[in-house]
Symmetry: C2
Subunit: 170 residues, 2 copies
């Protein structure tokens, strides 16, 4: 089974992201707008039990925290991905780090760039158009993160939430 | 905000349901296959906090339980909805009843018919074709329900999970 770990931002940010994803993100119908903490990885049904216990423990190490966004950015030239950039913070980085360290021993290949994708798999022309018009604007969003979610992927590529982990319950 | 409360069945049942939903359910991309415990209702952001506390308490009153399905059924002539019929059980009915009683004072207009929709908004001809071929088969599924989910609806009609409630934690 393929799993993933994400934060779903508030409805307001999701509605904003979807207004672009609808046209510019082929994954629009497969998953709601999200901030990825750990991208797709494989686990057996048995491993999931252990995993949820681990994530439950991690969620107790963190208190709810704020995230902020001020602008649109892009992974081009690596990838034609346009995203709402989320400012790094000690808490967000700490949460992402602990999740990745505790549930896999892989060394992360890339630095963590917190983001909410609004467009991907764009042609170079599309990318220029969309990024050109979006990058001129300010996108001031603030949101409280008080939970994250473990998801699994169905055969059709869509994602279902398996469990929610609330921060700072203790 | 519009909320709903559902059970997501196992990946196996979801993949089965999606193989039909893909063609026969216009909501295919808006929500994964599910068993509705409470259909869409409105709540303010403030009310959601109280609501999650209530659902948390309810989830402690129930132990994980089994659900069984043996066949496809239909709500026709009331509605051209084809569904995987879930057998009634004391636990499932009890959970549905407590949720509906505790979070709204409305008297339920309809009896609870536990089901997982595989097709809806079908024309009469489509309904006859699909139901005719599906109703000849047995669909023997068994599944353990150990959680339910509170969801909210985005402006595009899709649903995001707000929180998971695990049964029998105490």
């Amino acid at each position: 089974m393929k799993l993933g770990i994400v934060i779903f931002p508030s409805k307001k940010i999701q509605d904003f992201a979807n207004s672009y994803r609808k046209r510019y993100d082929p994954n629009y119908t497969l998953i709601p707008p999200h901030l990825t903490l750990k991208s797709a990885f494989k686990a057996t049904e048995e491993e999931i039990k252990q995993l949820t216990a681990t994530l439950d423990k991690i969620s107790n190490h963190f208190q709810p925290f704020q995230i902020k966004s001020t602008k649109i950015s892009s992974f081009k030239p690596v990838n034609n991905v346009i995203y709402l950039k989320i400012e790094e913070s000690e808490e967000l980085n700490g949460l992402q780090k602990e999740i990745n360290e505790k549930i896999s021993e892989e060394v992360l290949e890339y630095a963590f760039v917190p983001h909410i994708t609004v467009g991907q798999k764009l042609s170079n022309d599309e990318h220029s158009d969309v990024y050109g018009s979006l990058s001129l604007n300010q996108f001031n969003y603030e949101d409280t993160v008080d939970r994250f979610h473990l998801l699994y992927q169905l055969d059709n590529g869509s994602w279902t939430v398996y469990e929610t982990f609330r921060l700072g319950r203790d």
